[in-house]
Symmetry: none
DNA sequence: CTAACCCATGCCGTACAAAGAGCGTGAAAT
DNA sequence: ATTTCACGCTCTTTGTACGGCATGGGTTAG
């Protein structure tokens, strides 16, 4: 992996960074962690929470439901749970999208080849 | 006005009847009255609450939002304020869209994971 | 030496329930 | 045929348990 890519893509966020991003207290994030099993980030050797962008998205969803749409915590939990059981359908969609991706990659090659031929 | 129409037209329920119908305490209905201006029934000379079928339907909507969907009272209030043509359908659409949003967020994660795995 | 950790406790509002009092109907007593 | 009174339902006011975090103590790593 080239130097530039390593620099640009930041692997993990600290709890303080996530808290600042949403303008909430770290204690809120820790509390929600006890309430939502979907929000359990990796931890460092020391024990510090390591939030991936996906974790942040999970937090954003919870934040949206609880703080913006006015759900109780149990209500938000129910909605998050409902997303799980559709996993089979998700996999099907993923496979479809992977085929589409393969098609686009092939298409790109051909387009590039055509461009070169055209000079 | 003929007798029959009078009978049909003015059928009121007492707070006890409404409470029994939803299996809740009358105190809950009175409390929600202080929280939702949409739930302000007529009162008799004595001061007793007189619930029309329309009032009962209003209560049913609030009950659905708060007790079944898990909204906070302010959250339910916000939805009630948006008095559109088909409130019930609107709620269903919102539910559907939230599910779709959750699905897409989850899908994005998995697609990213698949993308990395595929190189 | 700041920022994170965990844990316990503190705390304030939300969301009701209970308490206490009044009215109206109906059965019993006058 | 009134009076009584008790019972059930209602009313308003006041109390309270829990939800939803915040704060402080004691530590530890970067």
């Amino acid at each position: 992996m080239p130097y530039k890519e390593r620099e640009i893509e930041k692997q993990y966020f600290t709890i303080g960074e996530v808290a600042a991003q949403f303008n909430v207290a770290p204690s809120l994030i820790r509390f929600w962690e006890t309430e939502f099993e979907e929000l359990r980030p990796r931890k460092s050797k020391k024990g510090n929470r390591l939030y991936t962008p996906a974790d942040v998205e999970t937090f954003r969803t919870i934040y949206h439901l609880v703080k913006e749409r006015g759900y109780t915590i149990p209500g938000a939990r129910d909605i998050l749970k409902q997303r799980g059981p559709q996993l089979k359908e998700k996999i099907d969609v993923i496979q479809s999208l992977e085929k589409v991706r393969g098609f686009l990659v092939q298409l790109k090659k051909e387009v590039e080849a055509a461009g070169k031929a055209a000079g």
